[in-house]
Amino acid sequence: MNTLFVQHFGNDENRKLSYYTAQMMGYQAARRAILEMKPEQIIEDVKKSSIRGRGGAGFPTGMKWGFLPKESAKPKYLVCNADESEPGTFKDRDIIRYTPHLLIEGMIIGSYAIGCTHAYIYIRGEYTREAKILQEAIDEAYKNGFLGKGIFNSSFNLDVTLHRGAGAYICGEETALLNSLEGKRGEPRVKPPFPALVGAFSCPTAVNNVETIATVPHILNRGAEWYAKLGRIEKSGGTRLMSVSGHVKNPGVYEVEAGSITLRQLIEDHAGGCWKDKKIKAVIPGGSSAPVLTADEIDVVLDIEPFQKIGTMMGSGAVMVCDEDTDMVQLIWRITKFYAHESCGQCTPCREGCHWMEAILHRILHGAGAEKDLDMLLDIANNIGGKTLCALGDAAAGPVISFVKKFRTEFESYIRGQKKYA
């Protein structure tokens, strides 16, 4: 199996520029891009690679970059989404702390491709150590002429500024992120207009995830066709960083060629299988926003479309494994409490609905539930999904619906007093 990232993870020395240039063809792709390629060629290559965004929505990256106007009286911006706040996700953190220059080089190539001269990296506030590491790498890049004025003696200038968030899941949503960057509350914007036309500071903007951007140097170095062939599924190429956590023997970040294995193989062959020799009961396959799968459903091929076909999503590639003793009612209550806490409060269905769902789940868990509560939960969830400005509403509704449908008997045991919360 080809891997692009993980062989460089785990060693603090690897974050240095010297390692990056010696072992990872450091800044060669950016040099070739700026000195030998036209911006349109780069966008064409990224399209050909068929890479889709790694932040959660899986949008084709080349197409996103192509949406920005070529000619613009206003400046254009590339903003890297390093908010990494989807529960279960911890891959971007490894990219930042072990291969920060890969991200910076991707920022250079992406900025040149869309015509940006000042790019921003929005990193979640809790990642203080990672922000320090990344800032040191940025400083190193400036010192060595990879950032600043006249990069590689060309006429291309680029500044990169690291911007820290301050604790808010919603700021991972790209338009909330842009508001936060502008010094506002992290409230998502009405779309359209999309960021490609009206984004950061009201200018055309591309927002991309850390892993997406850090993959771009690999695509230029190894070739778009080579990269596209790594994925076996037609519409999405490449490798994926999978964050595997919960009840597995070896939690961690694993890199796999998309479409080449099943979800079960990822859990059993890579992450060591279920811990304590127990059986798997359920898997949340794409961050806490992804509808849950039962143990019978995890022979699904690991890629975007196969996951969609069985009613869940690959999201940010965060796989959370639950063993046979997991209390599914407690789990969905905790997930819903998260969304209730993180709802920004702009849209009534999400602001009110998430709290109602949390309250109902709480009372079921504590022995005060009624039979009609389950239908009420589904009714509320169905009135949140698709009815809000951003996808946080769907992220809260989908899991509740899937838990109630797939583990209904567990809820009923609580409601009928056969089970008590420990």
């Binding site: 911890f90 809790e126 911007h163 968030g165 919960g246 806490s288 789990l331 905790r334």
Partner: protein, 158 residues
């Protein structure tokens, strides 16, 4: 108005000023820098940030109150923020919370009377591969166990 923010704050800000096309983009960095000076955000500090940015104080409060990392009231010397989201919960985070409550004789959200510890529950920290995890002030502690927590509470851990 008497100034409460140090020269260090203003030096930091003047370096950042050129990096944004609009002044309001300095609000989050300024609040971070102000909090670094006090451990939380007293009203006087937020008012001074408002003057520095050039906006109404209400606008600073509106922003500060949106984000969980800005402390709008004082916290203990050590602020324990234990993640209880999915991956950490699956690996025993609530046992750690209960243990801390007992040991510190406070409830989640409270501060010990000597002002040494504040205990909070935290949402996902992005340390799920090394769960359970928590932050103490700005630093991560991962692969936690009751024993590790005791070391931290008793000052036996770095």
């Amino acid at each position: 108005m008497e100034k409460v923010l140090s020269q260090k704050f203003y030096d930091k800000m003047s370096k950042l000023e050129q990096r944004y096309p609009i002044r309001n983009a300095l609000i989050l960095p300024a609040l971070h820098a102000a909090q670094e000076e006090f451990g939380w955000l007293p009203k006087e500090a937020m008012d001074e940030v408002a003057v520095f940015i050039g906006v109404h104080p209400a606008q600073i409060r509106e922003v500060a109150s949106f984000y969980t990392m800005y402390n709008l009231s004082p916290v203990g010397e050590k602020h324990l923020k234990i993640c209880t989201n999915v991956s950490c919960m699956l690996r025993g985070a609530y046992d750690l919370v209960t243990h801390c409550e007992k040991k510190l004789q406070i409830k989640t959200g409270e501060t010990t009377v000597d002002g040494k510890f504040t205990l909070s529950e935290e949402e996902c920290l992005g340390a799920c591969g090394t769960a359970p995890a928590m932050m103490v002030n700005d630093d991560y502690h991962e692969n936690l166990s009751i024993e590790r927590i005791n070391q931290i509470l008793e000052g036996r851990a770095p």
